[in-house]
């Protein structure tokens, strides 16, 4: 994870340092799985946060982060299966994994609905992800106690 890339919102009023205080997090991932470890750091952060009963309001994939959502990524068996890991995490915890539509289309990631509209035949979106717009990002940052950018 690139340290400069990490942005944490300042503490809201009335927030006291307490092990019991449960947080609502919004997470953003900006880099592709093979460009940096940021996506994997986010994945591990989310697992740790969930194990301590914190809430992950939404994970937003932006810039090259959309490369996490490609269904047909087929790494060798002895490597980390990034996309499958996210799909599994979403399934286990009902995570809301949102891929930005404009960033996705630029990079050739099309859900079947959108592909049809564009006269194409793709259906690239992996299980557990959904495609939506930047309004979802704004909502996530408004709802969350903390917003953290990875990558």
């Amino acid at each position: 994870m690139r340290e400069q890339g990490a942005a944490i919102s300042p503490q809201p009023e009335g927030w006291a340092i307490s092990r019991q205080k449960l947080m609502k997090f919004a997470i953003q991932i900006n880099t592709s799985p093979y460009q940096s470890n940021a996506g994997h750091s986010a994945y591990q952060f989310i697992k740790a946060a969930l194990s301590q009963q914190h809430e992950i309001f939404r994970v937003f994939f932006y810039h090259d982060g959309v490369y996490h959502a490609f269904k047909y990524a087929t790494p060798p068996d002895d490597e980390l299966q990034f996309t499958a890991q996210w799909s599994e995490l979403a399934r286990l915890h009902q995570l809301d994994l949102v891929v930005c539509i404009s960033a996705a289309q630029r990079r050739g990631l099309l859900h079947c609905d959108e592909a049809k509209r564009q006269g194409k035949q793709d259906n690239d979106l992996a299980e557990g992800f959904r495609i939506s717009g930047l309004g979802q990002w704004v909502e996530a940052t408004l709802e969350a106690d903390r917003f953290i950018v990875f990558g």
């Binding site: 400069q4 890339g5 942005a7 932006y62 630029r106 990002w137 704004v138």
Partner: protein, 118 residues
């Protein structure tokens, strides 16, 4: 409503980075949030006067910064040292900015609810 600070650090035409960051900035402003920008490091080149990206077929991203005013994004900050290290002054830039010293940047960032560093 929250106060958002977008921290830009890259030069123009760094892939789709600037375009996509401007999309997120404009969307946030369109949702009536309080939006400010901070240009650090090579991002000071974003607003450099006299860019002519058309000649290489690139999009004029500086023009989009000029449109931010329409969305009530009037607070654009930069860092004096970032300008000096690149031989620039505020007169080389195409928009009026508020210039801060490096030691005052942390204080500025503390004023915001959401800090987005791209």
């Amino acid at each position: 409503m929250k106060r958002y600070l977008f921290v830009l650090r890259k030069a123009p035409h760094s892939g789709a980075y600037v375009q996509e960051l401007l999309d997120i900035i404009l969307t946030t402003a369109a949702f009536d949030q309080h939006v400010s920008l901070l240009l650090l490091d090579d991002a000071v080149f974003q607003l450099k006067n006299g860019q002519n990206p058309d000649c290489t077929g690139m999009k004029d991203t500086a023009a989009i910064f000029k449109a931010l005013e329409i969305y009530d994004v009037n607070n654009i900050y930069t860092e004096l040292e970032s300008l000096q290290e690149r031989g620039l002054t505020v007169d080389d830039l195409c928009l009026p900015l508020q210039t801060l010293c490096r030691r005052d940047i942390a204080g500025l960032i503390q004023d915001f609810d959401v800090v987005f560093s791209g």
